[in-house]
């Protein structure tokens, strides 16, 4: 097994892809935390803990769940809204959950508006602007999610979570695979269960400090 660990950055001027450092994706029924394969059970707990600790926990929904292009996408979108509402209910004063879409993958020129969207070609701009210290990608095409996750790891200290509908993401610090409505709801339930048990790092360094 690789000694490399997928940790919050800023890691490098050009950080390596975690796969090229020997990090392997989880098999069905598994997840990974920092590049180490683990049970989904543990991953729910850790994802919920990271969300509840963060000053600006943020969900980045992508095009696969933003548009009602099939019934499954619409149901997932409803579940994501529920997750966000749960997060809002469970955080403490001073924490500011956000829901910022990645509506498409076009490079945004001359300038992205980081308050309303995130873009895979320069996701760090949105992280920095909003001082986001924990985020979750969901409904983003895998290639674009990997670009984003790696650029975020390279230039920010933001903790990244991927709720992937396919095989998962090694470039996230924590990744689920085969995401479904049930899995999103289960994460929401875990956040609710851990409410009040996790101390937010309100005075700690955030993703914007780089």
């Amino acid at each position: 097994m690789s000694d490399y660990r997928v940790l919050p950055g800023p890691e490098h001027f050009l950080p390596p892809a975690a796969a090229s450092m020997g990090i392997r994706l989880p098999n069905p029924g598994e997840a990974h935390i920092n590049g180490v394969i683990t049970s989904e059970e543990k991953a729910y707990e850790e994802a919920a803990r990271q969300f509840l600790m963060a000053k600006v926990p943020t969900i980045f929904p992508g095009p696969l769940v933003l548009w009602a292009w099939n019934e499954k996408a619409a149901k997932k979108a409803t579940a994501i809204r529920h997750l966000f509402n749960t997060l809002n209910e469970c955080v403490q004063p001073g924490q500011k959950p956000m829901l910022i879409p990645m509506p498409d993958y076009r490079p945004k020129y001359p300038k992205i508006n980081p308050e309303v969207e995130i873009n895979p070609n320069h996701p760090n701009l949105t992280i920095w602007h909003n001082k986001i210290d924990c985020c979750m990608f969901i409904g983003v095409h895998c290639h674009q999610a990997n670009l984003s996750l790696k650029i975020i790891r390279g230039g920010t200290s933001c903790y990244t979570i991927a709720m992937c509908a396919q095989a998962g993401h090694e470039d996230a610090m924590l990744s689920f695979r085969d995401a479904s409505v049930d899995k999103i709801m289960r994460l929401a339930d875990t956040i609710k269960r851990l409410k009040g048990t996790v101390k937010p790092r309100l005075s700690a360094k955030t993703g914007a400090s780089n």
């Binding site: 050009l14 892809a17 796969a19 498409d104 993958y105 070609n121 290639h143 095989a167």
Partner: protein, 403 residues
């Protein structure tokens, strides 16, 4: 995956049953058939649920391309046409794949070289196109004969590269190739190479799966990039000044994009090992002498090993099946006991020996040879001779007869 599972057990318009690929390739009955390599390509594609095949004639793949035209006439392929050149063919393959089709093509030698610009583009765009490369000479003075030099140029394109030894490999790997390259965490093109003529134009007994079974269709909705979308990268990038921007963000995006392609090659390792039963096959790797080879050089190596055994010299064999992903750990492990590693190749530069030298410790153990090229055959006697010379044993020159 749910969408794919839902079609299994149903029939296509030819009455073939969409079958679980593992069951089709590992459990279904096989029929021994005496076919040329070109005919085997046709038979694999008959069972591959291909949407589009684009052809351009160049020896030695022309026969396979023409035979697939027959499949189109029979209704097994969605669309089939001839491009204006290999460059055009590969560009048209990209268009079809961007649109969400399962795409197949074949080329060889100078055709591979002419189309080269497209291959990193395919990989960068995450297009799981399968291209058969029936290797032949590429240099001037022109030769249509077997020579594997073109594989060296494919190794750094970001494509998966496999090297078949036999027609049986070819049949199985064409079908398995689609499964691996279409995995959402891989989703890369595959160059499935063989040594032209030696495999394409010779007959062999090949065990075929039933004709009434076929792979499930390609599901473009599992792609890691949106299919055809002119507003999104990579298409957008190709027409957008973003590609020309001189700033850190633009460079960092491009760098991350390239890294992601090679990360996908890495991810293919797990799937390739699963479907090909390892990236390498090995025999007698406890021997002091190990032959490491790919393609038909493996067959020649195997025969050389048999001849050496008759003389009391024991050799091991490593058959390299996948060149990308590169079986680094497997080759290190298989050669750890070897005092001498011989790498017979059908090309002048010895690209496989260079890869192996860069992989194993104590690389002075690697003997880059014997080489033949330009269409020469590689009699096992010259491998035997190379090994015996190294061991200080008496040998003779195969083609020499004195003055």
């Amino acid at each position: 995956m749910a969408e794919i599972k839902s079609v299994i057990g149903t029939q296509n318009k030819k009455g073939q049953v969409y079958t679980d690929p593992w069951k089709m390739l590992h459990e279904a009955p096989r029929t021994p058939s005496f076919f040329t390599g070109s005919e085997v390509i046709k038979e694999a594609i008959r069972r591959a649920s291909c949407d589009v095949m684009i052809a351009y004639p160049i020896t030695p793949q022309s026969e396979a391309a023409a035979l697939i035209g027959e499949l189109f006439a029979e209704g097994y392929i969605g669309d089939y046409f001839r491009g204006e050149s290999e460059f055009a063919v590969m560009s048209q393959c990209a268009g079809a794949s961007f649109g969400g089709a399962r795409v197949f093509t074949t080329t060889a030698g100078p055709g591979t070289m002419r189309a080269m610009e497209n291959f990193p583009m395919w990989a960068g765009a995450r297009l799981p196109i399968q291209m058969i490369v029936t290797c032949r000479g590429i240099n001037s003075p022109l030769s249509i004969q077997p020579d594997t030099l073109e594989i060296a140029y494919l190794l750094n394109t970001g494509m998966l590269v496999w090297h078949a030894e036999t027609a049986q490999d070819f049949f199985d790997w064409i079908l398995k190739g689609y499964i691996v390259s279409e995995e959402p965490d891989v989703h890369l093109p595959l160059a499935l190479c063989c040594d032209g003529f030696f495999v394409t134009h010779t007959k062999d007994v090949v065990n075929l799966t039933p004709t009434d079974m076929c792979l499930p269709p390609y599901d473009p909705y599992r792609s890691p990039v949106p299919c055809m979308d002119m507003e999104c990268p990579p298409v957008r990038m190709m027409r957008d000044p973003f590609v020309m921007k001189s700033n850190y963000i633009s460079y960092a995006t491009h760098a991350s994009w390239q890294q992601e392609i090679w990360a996908a090659v890495e991810r293919s390792r797990k799937h390739t090992i699963h479907w090909l039963n390892g990236l390498v096959d090995t025999e007698n790797t406890d021997a002091d002498i190990v032959i490491v080879a790919s393609g038909t050089a493996v067959s020649q190596g195997r025969e050389a090993i048999r001849m050496l055994e008759d003389e009391g010299v024991r050799c091991g064999l490593v058959k390299v099946k996948a060149l990308r992903p590169w079986p680094e750990e497997e080759i290190r492990e298989a050669t750890k006991n070897a005092k001498h590693i011989f790498v017979p190749e059908f090309n002048v530069t010895g690209w496989l020996a260079k890869e192996i030298r860069a992989t194993v410790p104590n690389s002075q153990r690697v003997h880059a040879g014997p080489h033949v090229c330009g269409g020469m055959t590689m009699p096992p006697e010259i491998i035997v001779s190379e090994i015996k010379t190294t061991l200080g044993m008496k040998t003779f020159s195969l083609a020499g007869r004195g003055s």
